[in-house]
């Protein structure tokens, strides 16, 4: 091969390298343009809402309450309130469960079991929200609506059953103790939970026989003065809680496991028990990581559509009662946008609703990311 031919070949190789480099950079540019255009297109569509004078009150997009209390236009305030209501009830259910579970998994579960747990959590996170929404709306909501007393009793009975199983195992003679390996208590816990749940159902039925004269709707109306609907915030909280639990659990577990071992060793050597160490040393040390996890769960709950669509009942209300439904921004967009004519007021208002979702989740995610980074720097 001559010098020149080799040089030309070298050039071609460099050209190709350069070309692919540019192409990869183009991939990056497309990404940046995408996220910018998501913001730009949505703002472009709803912007005229803020410039055009409204011709009649009926077109007023935020909804005008008339003298008789009826709303005209497209009331967006109840939707914002509904979205927040759903997200807050979700956190009420998801945060205790997932943070406690993460604490247990990171501090008390043997490594082998923890590794086996991970794929399960991942599968849990992958369950499509339409599946959760469907089963929550069609099966769980009617089931809970006919077992309200059992629902109230369940937390007490289940905790009681866990303590009972713990005590029985503790006082049992050593040779009868089942599952003595650390972490194997999970099977006993499973039994305790099932027993507690079953007991709550049975006692709930007894209470129903004693107190309930007609259905639960009447009981709530007469005894508590509350409205009760089958599709209510509790069911949304539980099902959407299950949807965000894998997120909060995984990120919290990560943060808790990242706490340096020296913290634990110091605490235990000073005489603290394992639980004291976990709660007073490890939990505060991972606090900001857990906060970030909770924030990400919150933002996921705000944007979640199919679950609220199926379970929330989709009635716009302003109240925050646990026993009534609500209507969320996301569900409104999904339900009404297919029927909105292009460039209509409704069309623009729904784009504004989507913008609210976009901006709020973006803001929450950014804060969560900043909090996480601070944590990572601290223990790096």
């Amino acid at each position: 091969m001559t010098e020149r031919a080799r040089g030309r070949r070298m050039d071609r190789r460099r050209m190709l390298d350069l070309l692919v480099g540019r192409l990869a950079a183009l991939g990056g540019v497309v990404l940046i343009l995408t996220i910018l255009s998501v913001f730009a297109v949505i703002m472009w569509v709803f912007y005229p809402l803020f410039t055009s004078p409204f011709t009649s009150p009926a077109e007023y997009p935020w909804g005008v309450s008339g003298p008789d209390g009826t709303a005209s236009g497209y009331p967006i305030l109840p939707l914002i309130s509904g979205t927040l209501k759903g997200a807050v009830y979700t956190l009420i259910f998801a945060v205790p469960v997932s943070v406690l579970a993460a604490l247990y998994a990171s501090q008390f579960l043997p490594r082998v079991l923890k590794e086996r747990l991970k794929p399960l959590v991942e599968i849990m996170a992958a369950v499509p929200s339409v599946v959760l929404g469907f089963i929550g709306g069609v099966w769980l909501a009617p089931f809970l609506a006919s077992h309200v007393f059992a629902l109230f009793l369940a937390p007490v009975f289940i905790s009681g059953a866990v303590v009972a199983v713990f005590l029985i195992r503790h006082y049992a003679p050593v040779r009868f103790r089942a599952f003595t390996h650390p972490g194997r208590e999970i099977w006993l816990l499973l039994v305790a939970l099932l027993a507690g749940g079953w007991l709550a159902l049975e006692c709930g039925t007894l209470l129903e026989a004693a107190w309930l004269r007609a259905g639960y709707e009447t009981w709530f109306e007469e005894s508590l003065g509350l409205t009760f609907t089958q599709r209510n915030a509790i069911v949304v909280g539980m099902v959407m809680g299950l949807a965000v639990t894998p997120i909060i659990f995984t990120l919290s577990e990560e943060a808790l496991s990242a706490v340096p071992r020296s913290f634990l060793e110091g605490s235990v050597s000073l005489g603290a028990t394992r639980w004291q160490t976990a709660v007073r040393i490890v939990l505060p040390a991972a606090g900001s990581g857990i906060l970030a996890a909770v924030l990400l769960g919150f933002s996921r709950a705000i944007g979640e559509t199919m679950i609220v669509l199926f379970i929330s009942g989709n009635v716009p209300v302003l109240d925050w009662s646990a026993f009534t439904g609500f209507r969320a921004l996301s569900a409104s967009v999904a339900l009404d946008l297919p029927n909105a004519a292009r460039d209509d007021t409704l069309y623009r208002v729904l784009f504004f609703a989507a913008f609210l979702l976009l901006v709020s989740t973006f803001a929450i995610n950014t804060v969560a990311e900043l909090v996480r980074r601070r944590l990572r720097r601290r223990y790096a």
């Binding site: 990869a24 406690l100 303590v163 503790h170 939970l193 979640e304 979702l357 973006f362």
Partner: protein
């Protein structure tokens, strides 16, 4: 006896309990889906209820609920009500009725009661009366009609077209109804079935669920167009998302120089991952459907305007919308693969004089191919389960036309299509009289859940095999 128990150990158990609780609830809900979903094809018994007021009802008992009432004296009574599917829309338009159990005088399961699955008009429950051939009765009575029908059924398709064959059925209270054989999908007598014929019936029903289009407003029949539509959309999406995702990951890990632009790309990926799916749908409607689609229409299909061709929801716009949604999934998976490639490999390649591209193509890409596959599988699983953005960018509850067929140009990117997830929404979320479509919704939910879980399990398995290999290589 053990030592005195400590409160702290009990609290540890409580925290373990919350871990188990989370799994137990998900497992419980999945169990409900599996039981209902698998039970949908099993032939239910047909029961004849004789009521005290003389009415007679034939139907499937779907559920039994307790009702509490208080009488004037304050005494409480508990009664049961039956939800019965009557299969008789002529008399009960909603098909489903409530029966007070206290008013049922007698009930039995007549062996000769049959279910007629109709092509149009849902299922009919009744008794075989006679077989009519061009106006002439050729058979009368259950056994004769049944024998006649079975005799014809191998060449039913041909006979349907040739002659005016019909079956006359009598309802449980004696009204007669003729059903043309052309409209008969299948006839079976559930009460006369043996376990083996029930199993056969079950398998045939499950098979036809997968391979036939829906009947009767999605309440009966199959989901073939929904499976086809989901697959077509997901394939389209993969074609778009894979090149961009892989390129972006290459940029982030291999080509990008640290600096503000690289940071901006990283922030863009993170932001994209956090955008709610419904917002992508809104963007897809505003940008893809109305802006891009509208422009395409003006440029290439001006003759059809104002009737839009691309300027309305369609499979292409759905695929592009979901490509945006799954872009971060691909990027993260490929990036993880790139990060795991030992730097010694790259350095050795560079040391031998290879350019960055040659190193990438010959050394890095073969190693990260499984990671790309993982990314592809995960993004497909995500796309198959996402419904919300599709609702506003071109999914429909029923469509007779498939997005790919024999008519020129074979692939119809502008067509609206059916999607398995949206099928669940359509059949599971009907404001009034929705229970007729619920068995279908349960089955579709089970199908979608199995697909998504299988895909994720495959991705997880692939990734863990990969990790083991790297850890061995590093050791």
């Amino acid at each position: 006896m053990g030592s005195k128990w400590s409160k702290d150990d009990a609290l540890i158990w409580m925290s373990g309990g919350s871990l188990v609780l989370g799994f137990l609830m998900v497992a419980g809900l999945i169990l409900v889906i599996v039981v209902h979903g698998l039970g949908g094809f099993w032939p239910r018994e047909l029961t004849r209820y004789e009521l005290r007021d003389g009415r007679i009802v034939l139907g499937h008992e779907m559920s039994r609920v307790s009702v509490r009432t208080t009488n004037a004296a304050g005494g409480r009574t508990e009664a049961y009500r039956l939800r019965v599917r009557t299969g008789d829309r002529a008399r009960y338009p909603d098909e489903y009725i409530w029966l007070e159990e206290g008013r049922v005088a007698a009930r039995d399961a007549p062996r000769e009661a049959v279910v007629v699955e109709q092509v149009r008009g849902g299922d009919y429950f009744g008794f075989l009366d006679s077989f009519v051939d061009d106006g002439a009765v050729v058979a009368r009575g259950y056994e004769a009609v049944r024998a006649h029908y079975l005799e014809q059924s191998p060449e039913l398709e041909r006979l349907r077209r040739q002659r005016a064959l019909s079956i006359v059925l009598s309802s449980v209270d004696g009204r007669q109804q003729a059903i043309s054989l052309a409209n008969v999908q299948r006839i079976y007598a559930p009460n006369a079935m043996t376990t083996w014929t029930r199993v056969q019936h079950y398998l045939v029903s499950a098979w036809s669920y997968l391979w036939t289009p829906p009947r009767d407003d999605n309440r009966l029949g199959g989901v073939y167009p929904a499976i086809f539509g989901t697959a077509a959309m997901v394939i389209l999406m993969s074609i778009v998302v894979m090149p961009f995702g892989v390129l972006a990951a290459f940029y982030l890990r291999e080509y990008g120089k640290p600096g503000p632009f690289l940071n901006a790309v990283r922030i863009a990926v993170n932001s994209l991952a956090g955008v709610p799916s419904i917002v992508f749908g809104v963007f897809g409607l505003g940008f893809f459907v109305y802006f891009l689609g509208g422009t395409l229409d003006r440029q290439f299909f001006p003759a059809d305007l104002p009737e839009p061709t691309f300027g309305r929801g369609g499979i292409l716009w759905c695929a592009l919308t979901l490509a945006l949604l799954t872009l971060p999934v691909v990027i993260v998976a490929v990036e993880e693969g790139l990060a795991a490639v030992p730097s010694g490999l790259r350095e050795a390649s560079h040391a031998l004089g290879a350019t960055r591209f040659e190193t990438l193509w010959r050394v890095v890409v073969p190693v990260v191919l499984p990671s790309m596959l993982t990314g592809l599988i995960l993004s497909v699983a995500r796309a198959a389960g996402t419904v919300a953005p599709l609702m506003i960018t071109g999914v429909v509850a029923f469509s007779a036309a498939l997005p790919v067929d024999g008519a020129w140009p074979f692939v119809h990117l502008e067509r609206e299509f059916m999607h398995l997830g949206y099928h669940i929404f359509d059949t599971g979320f009907r404001p009034d009289g929705g229970e007729a479509s619920l068995p279908m919704a349960y089955t579709s939910t089970l199908l979608l859940l199995s697909i998504v879980v299988a895909l994720n399990a495959a991705a997880i398995g692939l990734r863990s095999r990969l990790r083991r290999r790297y850890s061995l290589a590093a050791a």
